[in-house]
Amino acid sequence: MTEIFRMNEAQPRLLDEMRQGVVGKPLSRPEGPKKVTGTARYAAEDLPDGCVHGVLVRATISRGRVTGLDREAIRDMPGLIDVITDARLLRNPAQGMAGVAPCQPNGEVFYHGQPIALVVAESLETARDAAHRLPVHYEEIAFETDPEAAQDREDKDPETAGHFDATFAASSVTIDARYRTDAQAAAAMEPHAAIAQWSGETVLLRGSLQMLRFNRDELADSLGIDPERVRILSPFIGGGFGSKLGIGPEAVAAAIASEKIGRPVRVVMSRQTVFDTVLRRSETLQRVRLGADGDGRLRAISHDDLVSNLPGESFAEPVSQASQFLYGADGLSFSQTLARVSRTPSGSVRAPGEAVGMLALESAMDELAEKLGLCPVELRLRNIPETHPMTGQAYSVRRLADCLRTGAEQFGWARRGAPGAQVEGDWRIGMGVASAARKSALVQSAARVRLLGDRAVVETDMTDIGTGSYAILGQIAGEMLGLPVEKVDVRLGDTSFPGASGSGGSFGANSAGSAVFLAAKKIRAELAAQLGCAPGELALQDGIARGGNIERALTDLVSSEIVHEAEIAAGDTSKSHLSSGFGAHFAEVAVNVWTGEVRVRRMLGVMAMGRILNEKTSRSQALGGMIWGIGSALTEALEHDPRTGHIVTRDLANYHVPSHADVPGDMSVVFLEERDDMANPIQTKGIGELGISGAGAAVLNAIAHATGARVRDFPALPDRVIRAIEMAGV
């Protein structure tokens, strides 16, 4: 067993001492050429010989029980192999990091579109047709689809500090506003897919999954077998955004079918099935109350929300997560109600909490600034707390004020005039700002590094969902071992490698990156010992080791290979300090006063998110997050049928992620240099989700500034903008 390194105290900045210039560099992703030439093999592409095809049969009722399948009706279809019903089939994917099987409903139906069986055939077409034709009999029971009308709801105890009611009542200026956000989908490009193949007692699953260490346990638990009998491969993932955190119905169904039939089975979800059965982001109803003194100092903050999920699902969109530590006040209160409804279950979708919670909080801050007659940037600057207002924790390192000031300066915020004052034909132009915050985390992770002369191999079950894991892990190993990245072979996405955090919650680089760093550090120590020098005296560069007065080529020094494994876990610093990325988003929009159309003209995100490991992949992630922000502000909405609860906008033509035309050409990201010594030994913070957190609010605040009218139902679709304009009488 490798000893676990616990993050109990501030760590020295060893990566800065290496001076190789590999870490931080804007290097392209090493797997990029494979992806653009079609040679990267995704989950559904590696068809083993004799592979057959499964299609999930899905419920056409919203609540009740399957009483029978009329297998006879389709039995003569040529090429049909089997119709599989099994008590182990999943109702929906596991929640992130569950590590155990999700609900296995055994014939009970909880939502319209739920998988209830698997049809297996020699061809995909036959399987799809058979799944379509199979008559299913049900017994229906009553259900509710509307979260706001649901009787079955759980009120969580409010989280409080100080006395909100009293401080709110004593505030001279207050805001009490309600906001709604529609449900959203992760909408990853690659649909969820799995190929299962048994050999003897073990099953090999090729899947599209974000967190293999957990997924292996989830699949084993779902099947009722020992995790040692499961191996999962997921080397390339065509986007996850949280939707591939947990093992899904396709994987378990493929494994069950393959075992029963004795042949490899592939199950690829159709786009409609992805929308229907993969965890969505809950719609939210939010109430934000802010109380301030006349000079704009916050005295009271409250953020209450209503979200929904299926019965039995523990996840509830953590709407007020960032509201609890972004600004300070004397009295704070946060409450949540979870409604149980028959809708596609909800789970983590990119930046769970902040992605929708910050739309409301930062809109309310803007409304408060307006009421106070104070500059929105200034209001935010005045309310940055000394310590975490709920826990009293210190902030590890925080450059929120720098981000706001730098952004205001670079964006030309001083040119921002009165609301509704900038007119261009039928268009009104406005600017908006919002703070960004996203808590950073360290999740237990292991990695192995092998040094073979002047090249190295990194092995971990970490995944790369298109974000750059291959790139940054190679950079960290290269920096530590004095090797160019071309000499580092990074192998990911295989449960036979040491278990890492996986990709989720923006903690992948912090966690897996630290494990690689620590393993490489052990190799350095061994090399130093071989040279007879202290580790601190060892210099590695271009395949040459220098220490004491000795200089040797690594190819000489390393006779066969030096292998070290390391594992890291969070420790005392996660209790004493809050590590979070901070930033500021700025947006300029044009709003057509007749049609309610909104066009984002330019955007700027200024972010301080710890050490930047790769300037290029970080920037891409930040930009991608900001584009998500545009989607949440303007375009993305899952529509649910009011009777059945099922998702009506269930393909990429009707679920509107931003198109190129929605994204301005003038879109920039500025990183402020930062090191988080309390977070982990590589001084990083999470990057993936900070870009989205607050970005949409900047767009929404710009709409309010452009028009003088405030939209509070998001996304701000044209009709909602028109309604706000008509109500405001502008």
Binding site: W594, T595, G596, R599, D651, E726
Partner: protein, 336 residues
């Protein structure tokens, strides 16, 4: 997907002969193949006309153009004659779908594409258009993409084409070839039938008849032409409301105006009384509002399309403001 026979027609006559209730013609296939995969359409035979000679040409014709049914949307939108003489058609086509789809989609196929009503696409739900007599799930369902005008109790679906709206405003005709080889022409606006109690019947086409061309009348010099499409994102989305306008000005007065509307009806919608109100009127918000009041119905057939009433009114006004120059020339507007 159901098994089907694929047959390549050798001539128009051959194609007509191969047609039956269970057969479908395929050209670009951009809509049909999607519908077949999800088994909304389950033809047992596909008759491919995409390789037939002569249907992919745009020819000068009586001062206007004759556009072959197999001319792709891309070729039509980028044709220099179209861009110069009928810019509203080019704009409307480019406002639809994506470049990849437009490269494949044909003129005839665009006219005959099916509605995007979500219930038509969902075989778990009742739909009179897909399965006559089963009922209309859109009634009482989710209604953002449904029609405002021309609907019936049995069907609330809207026609999704942008191109057809521009063809309607231009007074274009459809050339139809019968199995006998006989030709007939219909104004585009008369190609489509309203749903009534047979929403499964969408056009005036008889079995075996094939659209072989679209005929554009001579261009109207001096007109301002525009296509304004309001949707839930800036590109690659179907219209909530669209307005095609061809306007001839005489000083500050509208000499002639022709309007057509998309996203709001089972066919490209035109209303002669609206055009008549505008002819001779001063170009002003008041005139435009009067035209809008003439067009917009007093109520919506579905509560969720209620928003299309103010949106249609406002988009009509915005389009006329643009076409008459009242809105001023602004980069943002032109880049839409």
């Amino acid at each position: 997907m159901r098994p089907f026979d694929y047959e390549r027609a050798t001539s128009l006559h051959d194609a007509s002969e191969r047609m039956s209730d269970a057969a479908a013609i395929i050209a670009g296939g951009t809509n049909l193949l999607d519908l077949m995969k999800i088994q909304v359409m389950t033809p047992s035979r596909l008759v491919d006309i995409s390789r037939l000679d002569g249907l992919d040409r745009i020819d000068d014709h009586d001062g206007g153009l004759r556009i072959g049914a197999l001319v792709t949307n891309t070729a039509l939108a980028t044709d220099p004659r179209v861009r110069a003489g009928w810019p509203v058609l080019s704009r409307a086509i480019l406002a639809g779908a994506s470049a990849q789809i437009r490269n494949k989609a044909t003129t005839g196929g665009n006219l005959l594409q099916r509605t995007r009503c979500p219930y038509f696409y969902d075989t778990a739900m009742a739909c009179n258009k897909r399965a006559p007599g089963t009922g209309c799930s859109a009634q009482g369902g989710s209604g953002r993409m449904l029609a405002l005008l021309g609907t019936s109790e049995d069907c609330l679906a809207a026609h999704p084409s942008d191109m057809a709206v521009a063809l309607a405003v231009l007074g274009a005709s459809v050339e139809i070839t019968a199995p006998s080889g006989e030709l007939r022409t219909l104004p585009v606006t008369q190609l489509y039938t309203l749903p009534g109690n047979r929403p499964d019947i969408e056009t005036d086409l008889k079995q075996g008849e094939i659209i072989t061309a679209v005929v554009l009348p001579a261009p109207r010099p001096g007109t301002a032409q525009t296509y304004r499409k309001v949707r839930d994102r800036a590109s690659y989305a179907f219209a909530l409301v669209s307005v095609a306008a061809v306007v001839l000005m005489d000083g500050d007065t509208i000499a002639e105006a022709s309007l057509a509307f998309g996203g709001i009806a089972p066919r490209p919608w035109t209303d002669g009384s609206v055009n008549a109100l505008l002819a001779g009127a001063e170009a002003s918000d008041e005139s435009f509002a009067r035209a809008a009041a003439q067009l917009v119905p007093d109520s919506a057939p579905h509560p969720e399309t209620e928003f299309k009433r103010p949106l249609l009114r406002r988009t009509l006004i915005a389009t006329l403001r643009e076409a008459t120059g009242l809105a001023g020339r602004v980069d943002t507007a032109r880049s839409l």
